[in-house]
Subunit: 437 residues, 2 copies
């Protein structure tokens, strides 16, 4: 039940109360991990600590990290802290290699999760009058069911279309009067493209809210999405290890993502040393879920790069801190000639150039002992006049802009609109051909 | 919350109380349709009736029928009886031609639906200790989310795999210790086949319960499914127009499907004349949902052929009547030389022949002015010796058995195992080549 313009009272909990709650919950979750998960008991014993050593939030640094590899190594239920009969849901993220990462939920975990996603949706204005079309995969991926349950809880009319069949998706938007969508940004841009082909004017749809997640995207992409559909676009952040979506979300300000501080303990650490970093310092996001019964992960290394935006009260009134939108996902990071490159940096640059279309691909090759990056970029039809001089000018613009951002020389291939592959889920932007040598 | 060995107290409601409840609900739903759906008000006025004319269950015959075409013609929300803001879910069944059939739900409809499917699952022994793998499509198809929510409500561990990726599905069954599955019978048989290829012994999996639906299947297929996975196989019946699955379901007796009499008013009618038929008489199942808020359909023509099995109290103690498993779906019916043939009749015959494998296809061609049926049948590897004499013997056996059941001459093509297409959802058994002429 909503609490004024908030979904839950906890969203505006005074900071001192919130802090008290967090300490209580941290101690609870550490005790739970220690008592019920041999993996953590062993680790903590090796480090010479017990749950009694965790008394304040700052004590979190005494705890061991948990990595994605730990999850894989404990496949499927090695990190589960409850009897299997208490589990009511399984989700998985398969990743590109090795065993999948399994996550498990108790009934209470699901309740918490539904309410966290509902907080996000309510925060950006989704109400029972809305028609919410959920254009992401259902089944084992957390994005589908995560948003589905939350939008339903709010009472919106949920249209569970999933991905695929883009023409029909568009037809449903028209026929059902869809007002809010959830998709990856790349699939949304694909939908716009199909609409253009079909002569459907996406600016005249009744859409007013878009939730975009699963891949990092920039403010320049926001502009494109908002223009394409005449809606307000919000960044959604989550990962299945932390339930799924609903970990952090932009509010109406569209300036940073509130992270639900009563459910997640946030740290930013140096990815190399694991040292905690301060406000404003860029590093790896490390999360300790404070309420998870089924899988109480301690100091989980998300691999995602961001920074804490400071604890000033946001104009929306929420007392939960904000993180900057994800700058790069460690999983996506490319190392080329010793320099770290995130596809999201490339996206940021390209989406700011009016000559460039909505789709690109990053190809990495090895030329002798030298790695090379080639960015294949689709042009925008209406910009390119067809003249060679024009072509060279655009190509040089793109190259210069990329080099400025990445501090590395890149090749640029301009290609015609429609050349590159389209994606309905998370876009696969990087083609690393070095691995095949 | 379970009520002894029943999910809900209503399952064993004394007949007189149940009847009282049904009358009350019938009057409520008719009033609702009349007041809120112009389509029904118009129809009832044309027939010269008002809600006041419906006082007893028998008065249902005074009401107009609703057909699948009515649903299509009123796409998307023409039959909805509530304000759009009260809807929380949309499902669809696309069918082969024309506009899709949209069904809509209020929050209360979902609650009722979840509990009806939970009744079914609880009835066949699914408990919170079970691991329930849901191997059907999610998103717009009702089968996926329908079972998902119900198994979760019971507290089973739901593994929402959906269809596809059959090898991984098998791996999950092993890794998660799946005890209950939901699939189409044809997909289950496909899974068994893949298991054989991979050397996984499906009889040694911890499976004990299988729910099979979306296509009609016979007791002979039951034997095959039960043998293949060493489980107990139960027939699941439902259709999206009646919420989805959970309309009727076999109990432990495996002899007829209890249809939830407090939520659906059941009639069997002559498909030609629409006249009500008596107990034991085969005809078309007509359902009037008694509790649907969003879409109060009156006397919905399901197109499915079955009969009422009589009101004797079942050994399971439930007071709700049983229907015979679906004999044929009107949508699947083939008319060949003036004779009605259901693919389910062919399935029934074939699955009883030990020489015949698990997969078949029905091809209909026009030879001059004469329609011909050819049944393509996969043989079982281990039966066929490879000798021509053997081959002819089997072929003649199959042909004779089919002609006896169908009263029509059919051609039989024996094909090697693995020749025919496999399906992950509802199998497409019939290839009607007449339409292409
Ligand atoms: Zn805010
Ligand atoms: Zn029974």
């Amino acid at each position: 039940m909503p609490f004024g313009s908030y979904w839950q009272r906890e969203e505006i909990m005074p900071l001192n109360q919130l802090e008290e709650l967090r300490v209580k919950r941290l101690r609870w979750v550490v005790r739970r991990a220690y008592d019920n998960v041999p993996f953590y008991r062993k680790k903590m014993r090796e480090m010479g600590i017990t749950p009694h050593d965790i008394r304040r939030i700052d004590d979190v640094v005494k705890l061991p990290f948990t990595t994605k590899d730990d999850l894989r190594a404990n496949y499927p239920f090695g990190l589960v802290a409850v009897d299997k009969s208490e589990l009511v849901r399984i989700h998985m993220s398969s990743g590109t290699s090795g065993k999948p990462k399994v996550v498990a939920y108790t009934e209470r975990d699901l309740e918490n999760w539904i309410n966290m996603v509902a907080r996000c949706l309510y925060m950006i204005g989704v109400r029972k009058e809305d028609v919410f079309q959920n254009l992401v995969s259902y089944t084992l991926f957390t994005g589908g069911l995560g948003f589905h349950y939350a939008a339903e809880r709010i009472g919106a009319m949920v249209v569970p279309t999933g991905t695929g069949n883009t023409e029909k998706q568009l037809q449903y938007m028209v026929d059902f009067g869809t007002t809010a969508i959830h998709a990856t940004p790349s699939y949304a841009l694909r939908i716009k493209e199909v609409a253009e082909e079909k002569g459907i004017d996406t600016q005249n749809l009744p859409l007013r809210i878009g939730c975009f997640g699963a891949e990092p995207w920039s403010d320049n992409t926001r502009k494109r999405l908002e223009e394409a559909f005449d809606l307000k676009a919000f960044d959604s952040y989550g990962l299945s290890e932390m339930n799924g979506p609903g970990v952090a979300f932009e509010c109406e300000e569209q300036n940073g993502l509130h992270i639900w501080h009563d459910h997640y303990l946030v740290e930013i650490v140096d990815p190399e040393t694991g040292e905690q970093l301060g406000e404003g310092e860029k590093g790896e996001l490390v999360l300790t879920p404070l309420t998870k019964e089924a899988m109480p992960l301690l100091r989980y290394r998300t691999g995602d790069i961001t920074y804490l935006m400071g604890f000033d009260r946001c104009s929306c009134g929420r007392t939960h801190p904000k993180i900057h939108r994800i700058i790069g996902r460690a999983d996506d990071m490319i190392v080329v000639r010793g320099i770290n490159v995130y596809p999201s940096q490339i996206e940021h640059v390209l989406m700011n150039l009016p000559e460039v279309g909505d789709h690109f691909q990053v190809v990495i090759t090895r030329n002798g002992s030298l790695d090379e990056i080639t960015v294949r970029v689709e042009m925008r039809d209406e910009i390119f006049t067809g003249e060679l001089r024009d072509f060279s000018r655009i190509r040089n613009n793109v190259m210069r802009a990329l080099q400025k951002e990445l501090n590395i020389r890149v090749n640029v291939d301009l290609v015609e609109k429609g050349t590159l592959e389209r994606f309905e889920g998370k876009a696969k932007r990087v083609l690393d051909l070095r691995k095949e040598l």
